[in-house]
């Protein structure tokens, strides 16, 4: 495109190159800068207008802040179980880990097959559009709502929690898996197709080995998210776990010693998870992750 007008200059690359190099980024940059400034302006404007309206009237902020700091201090510096035993907290932690594991594993298996229908180099456009739209709809409904809906439809308990959380898991993983599959060179796929390799052998011999490592990283990231979700919404579904203990300690007994203990238990699990996930990610996923 750009080389067209400069065709006559082809003999003197030293003269033409700086010109194209100089022109292109500036032109792009202008549009980029305008968009960036516009986004920033909207964000700041909204914030400045919003903050005064949310300052509560009946609350003394100084008192509230010092109360918050006191409670934080109790939480972080004097953690102790009081309304329940350490053992039952540990059991609860494992229940939440189990919930996160189940929803990740099931989500990953289902999502892999659906992603094959949502990848540009494998499926026809109409199918991709249908699948991606359905997944976007599922993602748009917050996890907590899925869990509440299933806890009414299936009754309170682990079943509702697993299925409600799996929904979101699948919708998220389909998107990232399909993106990973899209990155496989279409040339390589058509080369193997031309050799007479059928669809399922292509999936197992080409697609899976090529994206296995990024699949692993993404699934691990989802495991982190699912654990956070299990902690957040497990209680709402009546699935028990650390979520229930946390809810009782903070919302029922107002016992911040115990909340602190629970937070430390959660940190003991999530921080190693975060480190592993970071290592996997920096090794296998090049671009910034979401």
């Amino acid at each position: 495109m750009i080389s067209k007008p400069e065709r006559g200059l082809e003999m003197t690359p030293e003269a033409s190159q700086p010109m194209t190099k100089f022109k292109l980024p500036l032109r792009l940059k202008d549009k980029r800068r305008r968009t960036v400034y516009l986004v920033m302006a909207i964000l700041v404007f909204t914030t400045v207008l919003t903050i005064p309206t949310i300052i509560p009237k009946g609350v003394n902020l100084a008192v509230a802040t010092s109360g918050l700091l006191d409670n934080l201090r109790i939480m972080m510096l004097q953690p102790a179980p009081s309304n329940t035993t350490m053992e039952s907290l540990m059991v609860a932690l494992f229940q939440s880990i189990a919930l996160a594991f189940l929803t990740t594993l099931v989500g990953a298996v289902i999502a892999f097959f659906i992603a094959l229908m949502a990848a540009r180099n494998l499926a026809p456009t109409w199918l991709i559009n249908i699948v991606q739209t359905v997944m976007a709809l599922i993602r748009a409904i917050p996890t907590i709502l899925w869990v509440l809906i299933y806890s009414v439809a299936l009754g309170l308990g682990a079943n509702a929690a697993v299925i409600g959380l799996t929904f979101h898991s699948v919708a998220y993983l389909v998107k990232v898996y399909a993106d990973s599959i899209d990155e496989i060179s279409g040339d390589t796929l058509s080369a193997l197709r031309a050799m007479g390799v059928g669809f399922w052998p292509l999936v197992s011999q080409v697609i899976f080995p090529t994206i296995a490592s990024s699949l692993l990283s993404w699934t691990f990231i989802r495991f982190e998210i699912n654990f956070a979700n299990a902690v957040a919404v497990g209680a709402a579904a009546g699935a028990g776990g650390i979520s229930y203990q946390l809810f009782m300690a903070s919302g029922f007994y107002f016992d911040f010693h115990e909340v602190g203990m629970i937070v430390y238990l959660i940190l003991a699990f999530t921080i190693p998870l975060e480190i592993i996930s970071y290592k996997l990610r920096s090794r296998y996923i090049k671009r910034a992750t979401k």
């Binding site: 964000l43 109360g67 594991f101 809906i149 299925i163 699935a239």
Partner: protein, 267 residues
Amino acid sequence: MKNQVMDSSKFFMRKRLNLSIVIGLMIVLYVGASLILNFNSAAFLYVDRGIIWLAKNFVPNSHSIQYWGIILQALLRTLIVSVAATTVAGVLALGLALAGAKTTGPSQTLSWLIRGFASIMRNIPIVGWAMLLLFSFKQNDFTGFLALLFLSIGFLTRAFMETIEAVDVEKIQALEVTGANYLQVISQAVIPEITTPLVSWLLYMIENNLRDATLVGLLTGTGIGFVFDLYFKSLRYGPAGLVVLAIIVLVIGVELVSNQVERRIAI
């Protein structure tokens, strides 16, 4: 040649063995996790029930229309509170990230301190933050704002730090050797390099906060989450369905806008 044929048999055997071990382990863990949770795998057969239930009960009828005003107002509040929490968190996180990144920060110790702080902020569960804040700040939008703010600070600090560390050190050094001071290097070399990912992280965070706002609102009795909870618990499923619809439209709308912005600012 013969040796190699044997090698190849061994190679494929080992590969299959590894795969079998992984699959076996997953099955064992699956069964174990199901037992711990008291989860019945047959429940997957009833996935349709939720959808059917949703389609049957959550259909807004003409009666629900009268709730539009309240729902829209709550939705708007939720949106602007999410935006405000993300923006404030973004400003604070950028400062923390610059001070904590290996390439731009003053010391290793500070870097670890900030990393630890971000990690703790991120990993204190939403429920914990919500209850803690509710206890001191009572039931109002400010509580929801603070809960989202604290979660976002943790997340964005980590994201920004990784982004800054991805900037080529040589680009920073190239400016340093010209005699530019610290602030000049930051504003001329680091910030321009990270603007695009920064904006895209902010937009992602707004999307995420919108989703979390439902839960936070449910717990702290504010915004759209509170409105949903109110209708859901009083079995007014028509308006509850309207709330879900409104959330879907808002989240997808924000997603589309941020996709558009990302396309325009992509390098």
